[in-house]
Amino acid sequence: MTALVVAALSAREVSRRRTALLLVITLPLWFYLVRRDQTGQSVRMLTLGIGWAVSTLTLFVVNASRGVDPRLRLSGASTAAVIGGRLLAMTGGGVILALGYWVLTALDQDLDRPAAVALIMVLAAVLAAPLGGLVAALLPRELEGALALLSICAVQMLADPAGLVAKLMPFWSAREIGTYAIDATAPDYLWRGLAHAAVTWLICAGGTWAIFAWRLRLPRYPEP
């Protein structure tokens, strides 16, 4: 209940920041347009763009509420409700964004496996929200957090997909399922990707929750 109210109001808060929202929505578009002539490259870039946009937005939303959250805790909310609500809102918004871009690619490109393309875009959004939350938890200042996300996305983009470094990056699953979706490979790419996504999500969401549970912990003062 509390988590849903937090989620609804977080969404409303973001929706009022028109310019920032517009920039977040258009960010993946530039990624897509640069390699529009190549289906595989454009879809992969677009997916990474969605991940970057949603994680950065989550970073800012979580950081912006640092003053409010301790007071919500004092009023009686649990950390899971406060942080979970914000991640829920960002995940929901991210999924809508991803589905919008999927419609664009489905119309603009010749996709062999459109459902798998939808899956990677949605996965990118779903992973991005807790990733942004985790970075916000580790790096409380916005500039540091934004630079860290930039580094993660750059490494993800440039690393050799078969190498270890790429596998340690959060959006490797999107890349792996992307190969299944675009190059029509065997389904083991799909399963590996889903497993990677599940582990990544658990690490990011669990890490975010654990750090905030510690940071927003309240002592049990005895009654006088």
């Binding site: 109001l9 808060e13 912006a64 003053g67 409010v68 007071r71 009686g76 309240l218 005895p222 006088p224």
Partner: protein, 268 residues
């Protein structure tokens, strides 16, 4: 039982009344309405507001007017705080009872705000012990609100944290705002409010869940003279309603309004 009675009982429970007593008060209130042959909401107003009103009326009696003292709401014993090698607070003792207002004064940088955060539980003391009532409201000096949300949305958000339904939280918030001579405008984000109005919002948010202990950190910044007086009147009505209040201040003429003054002295 009608909807009003059960809403009334639920609100009493939420405000910390024992279940048996809440049931008894709800039944008596229903019976009072029946003997007046009136609907409860026309006789007493909205259930959640009357629950607050009744409790504050009853608590007035719990704090005897002359001599005797109310129960302790906050007790600090030998509280100290060090950041690495810098000592911010050392050996602070403070006791605040129900129906009392305590002021914390001292030079800039002497740790007033740190002490208040320790009372709230947002900062941990490095030494000493804190005893505190469970229901506490904290009003920070600045921040503590979301720039892009309206006042009503803040009431909803903070109400949800305390387990209140959105509509009830909004009407309680508007009721408390009216006591500070403020009528929140719809659709105006907090960032467009003046500093004084934002502080009023901060105060209402600290009080929304009817805490027994209020911790206020220089809460009147940006208030004009009239609002400043409204603020102290509000503090006195909290005191008369049996709440304990701790105010951090640097204004000496505030001290005429309080029961205790705790001077933290010069900056450490």
């Amino acid at each position: 039982m009608t909807g009003w009675d059960s809403r009334f009982e639920t609100e009493l429970l939420r405000l910390g009344v024992q279940p048996g007593r809440a049931r008894q008060l709800a039944e008596e209130t229903a019976q009072q309405a029946a003997e007046c042959a009136a609907a409860p909401d026309s006789l007493f107003g909205p259930a959640h507001l009357y629950a607050r009103h009744l409790l504050s009326e009853l608590k007035t009696a719990a704090v005897p007017l002359g001599g005797a003292k109310g129960p302790v709401r906050l007790r600090l014993t030998g509280v100290g705080k060090r950041y690495r090698r810098r000592t911010v607070l050392d050996g602070v003792n403070l006791t605040v009872r129900a129906g009392e207002v305590a002021a914390i004064v001292g030079a800039n940088g002497c740790g007033k705000s740190t002490l208040l955060r320790i009372c709230a539980g947002l900062t941990r003391p490095t030494s000493g012990s804190v005893q505190r009532t469970r229901r506490v409201g904290f009003v920070p000096q600045d921040a503590g609100t979301a720039d892009w949300l309206t006042a009503d949305e803040h009431f909803t958000l903070f109400g949800a944290a305390a387990g209140m339904a959105p509509r009830r939280a909004r009407s309680t918030g508007e009721h408390l705002a009216a006591r500070l001579a403020w009528r929140p405008t719809k659709s105006q984000p907090t960032q467009h409010l003046s500093g004084g109005t934002r502080q009023k919002l901060n105060l209402v948010l600290g009080e929304l869940h009817a805490p027994d202990l209020l911790l206020l950190d220089e809460p009147y910044q940006g208030f004009d003279q009239g609002t400043y007086l409204d603020f102290w009147q509000q503090v006195h009505s909290w005191r008369d309603a049996g709440r304990a209040v701790v105010v951090v201040t640097h204004l000496l003429h505030d001290l005429q309004h309080v029961d205790h003054v705790h001077d933290l002295g010069a900056a450490q």
